[in-house]
């Protein structure tokens, strides 16, 4: 049972990791906390669903389309509601994104209704047995795609000009601007990238959770994952997401009813007390 729980925990954890990655992207670049990240994932999944059912695209194309359209949604959001408020205190922007999450959920309800829908999996669900572990290609595919995306993002930040520019803006926007980086354009690009990654997360988790307007709640474990791994750290978001998924499942498998729901958050709490910067976060030292 142990390995069984670990593998399916990793699959869920990858989703948390992707959403946490989206959160971290925006936070690193703009220091904004985007509470609507989960709803962006939900809207992305619905867009993919529409491509699949109304335009009859194959699943892979529909998911790819969902990623692209999510990016567009991210761009629109950044342009319409975030940019005008960019100079305001971060807390105001946080409240704006909170409002945004409610608006997105209600809009999705108007367009697609608040019903639940079965979402086609990118991978088949026929189980495969590896020794004591039964997994579905859906589980494995989710892990593979998520890991692939994470590796791609890593390479992007490391080796491409745009990636380096983004990192520069994340580190110190003023200095980056002085070096000739278009900071506003980078901010927009960050939102596009973050929304696209979340849209992918939405399309990957929808076959498991079923597609509904409630799906945005995934932002809560994603927050926990990002904090667990170290708020503001990319590898931390990924490690935190995976760890949270596995912890959740093991607690569910080995602990009694009421306790298991608390465990993931107790772990987060514990980590914050013992190591406030998370697994992989850097200690913030301010010189006075």
């Amino acid at each position: 049972m142990f390995w069984q729980l670990v593998v399916s925990g990793l699959a869920t954890g990858c989703i948390y990791a992707l959403v946490a990655l989206g959160l971290t992207l925006i936070y690193k670049a703009t220091e904004h906390v985007n509470f609507a990240q989960g709803e962006m994932a939900m809207v992305g999944a619905f867009l993919g669903y529409t491509l699949y059912t109304d335009l009859h695209l194959p699943v892979s194309m529909a998911v790819a389309g969902a990623v692209v359209l999510s990016g567009v949604v991210g761009l629109v959001i950044q342009f319409v509601v975030i940019r005008p408020a960019a100079d305001q205190p971060h807390f105001n922007v946080f409240i704006i994104t909170m409002g945004l999450s409610i608006v997105l959920r209600s809009l999705a309800g108007l367009v697609w209704s608040h019903d639940e829908f079965p979402f086609p999996g990118l991978f088949p669900v026929r189980p495969v047995t590896f020794g004591p572990v039964v997994v579905t290609p859906l589980n494995l595919g989710t892990i593979a795609v998520a890991v692939g995306i994470m590796a791609g993002l890593f390479a992007f930040f490391r080796y491409t000009r745009h990636g380096v520019a983004m990192r520069a803006v994340c580190e110190r926007p003023e200095a980056a601007q002085l070096m000739g980086v278009e900071v506003r354009r980078v901010f927009a690009a960050v939102w596009v990238l973050s929304a696209a990654v979340s849209g992918l997360a939405g399309a990957l988790i929808a076959p498991v959770l079923n597609l509904s307007t409630h799906m945005g709640a995934v932002v809560i474990p994603a927050f926990a994952a990002a904090i667990l791994g170290g708020w503001g750290s990319f590898p931390g978001a990924i490690a935190g997401g995976m760890a949270l998924g596995v912890i959740e499942n093991l607690a569910g498998g080995y602990l009694a009813g009421q306790i298991k729901n608390m465990v993931p958050f107790l772990v987060v709490l514990g980590v914050l007390v013992v190591r406030p910067q998370g697994f992989l976060g850097e200690k913030e030292i301010r010189k006075v």
Binding site: Q4, S8, G9, A11, P118, V125, V134
Partner: protein
């Protein structure tokens, strides 16, 4: 818009001197009856809520198009409570004190419903057929309830499994809230009465992402049967997970509210062989004439809505309410309607067993039947089952 027009109509009637005659009942004029409700048009129960209302409106429009009841058209006013008890109470006050409705019809959700009942009882405004299954509304003069209480449903299923199927090791996966615990509590009591215990129990929290730990534990418990006291999304996840790990030795059994077509659609075809307790005939496929009539009326007046158990509920219980209005006669009062309902007797409805009310019995349905998923549909595998005088009784289904 239609709602607003309805209200304008009532207003216009007042201005034109058709105001209620002295002594007439609140909410009743010469040619209208005003009913109202507070429903979920947002929040977690928005889908059941909007569907129930679609069924209600379809039937009311059908009645109005056919001349109304004793010459009166039925007008309505609905408000949204988003499944929040405090909003439900505010809406009820608005309906009773400002809009002056005659009666309240089909609100939804255990907590919002329980929150408004004391107020309605105090104001002596009758409440008809709230969509909820807790037995705490039993024995209230101004409340008529609809379907089999959750505890009775669990009694029926447990006794059927023990007595008819000879099962002994029974477990449950339940939603970790008041709804799920209703089922868990009764299952415990029922099994203890027979000297048995709940063999395994696992909870699923609302909005859970992965049910694999729960399913793995239940599969390891060596059960004869496992009840599912869940809502369709997580219920379907349990079926998928069970199929994935090849958990076949245990019969999975859906509770009444879960026995719903949505549950099967979401599970994507892995539900074959699952049992469940059903309170209704199959809304989509049932060949009963009264069910065909329901589908026709729904299609004509609410064409965007596919037949399902929620709009069937709205339709059926609105119809039962209208039967009561019919029986109460032209001289309509709240107490008169209650008295008429109580003395209506057993009246065939062609869909479920006849509802009959009395001064001590305001519950419309107290039974259900077992179904098995065959070819993606719920097919009956028992007659109507009820627990009467402490015994499980079975009567044939309508054909």
């Amino acid at each position: 818009m239609r709602r607003a027009m309805g209200w304008l109509g009532v207003l216009a009637a007042g201005i034109l001197g058709l105001a209620p005659l002295a002594g007439a009942e609140t909410g009743v004029t010469d040619d209208t009856i005003l009913v109202g409700t507070s429903q979920s048009f947002s929040g977690p129960l928005v889908f059941p809520g909007t569907e129930e209302v679609a069924g209600m409106e379809a039937y009311l429009e059908y009645v109005n198009a056919n001349g109304g009841i004793h010459g009166r058209k039925i007008k309505w006013k609905w408000y949204d409570d988003g499944y929040k008890p405090q909003n439900a109470v505010a809406n009820m006050k608005r309906l009773v004190e400002q809009d002056k409705v005659f009666a309240v019809l089909i609100n939804q959700g255990t907590s919002p419903v329980l929150a408004v009942v004391p107020y309605l009882e105090q104001k002596k405004v009758p409440l008809f057929f709230p969509f909820q299954g807790s037995s705490r509304l039993h024995g209230k003069k101004y409340v008529f309830t609809s379907y089999t209480y959750y505890d009775t449903q669990t009694q029926i299923v447990t006794r059927w499994l023990l007595e008819k199927k000879g099962f002994e090791r029974i477990g449950i996966i339940y939603q970790d809230d008041a709804y799920g615990k209703f089922f868990l509590g009764t299952l415990k009591k029922e099994l203890e009465a027979k000297g048995l215990t709940v063999a395994a129990a696992e909870s699923v929290k609302r909005g859970a992402t992965d049910v694999s730990p729960q399913v793995a534990k239940m599969a390891a418990a060596g059960l004869d049967a496992c009840l599912l006291a869940l809502v369709p999304g997580p219920g379907a996840q349990v079926l998928k997970e069970a199929a994935k790990i090849g958990w076949k030795k245990t019969k999975l059994i859906s509770s009444g509210p879960l026995t719903d077509e949505k549950f099967l659609i979401l599970s994507g075809g892995v539900g074959e062989g699952v049992w469940g307790l059903s309170l209704w005939p199959d809304p989509v496929n049932s060949p009963l004439p009264a069910m065909k009539e329901y589908r026709d009326i729904l299609k004509k007046y609410r064409p965007g809505h596919e037949p399902n158990r929620y709009n069937l509920y709205g339709y059926f219980y609105t119809k039962l309410f209208c039967d009561g209005l019919e029986a109460a006669g032209r001289n309509l009062t709240r107490d008169g309607l209650i008295a008429a309902m109580e003395s209506m007797g057993r009246r065939e409805n062609g869909i479920i067993n006849p509802a009959s009310f009395g001064p001590d019995d305001h519950q419309a349905q107290d039974d259900g039947f077992m179904v098995e998923v065959q070819g993606g549909r719920f097919v009956p595998i028992s007659g109507w089952l009820a627990v009467r005088n402490g015994k499980l009784v079975e009567t044939p289904l309508q054909r």
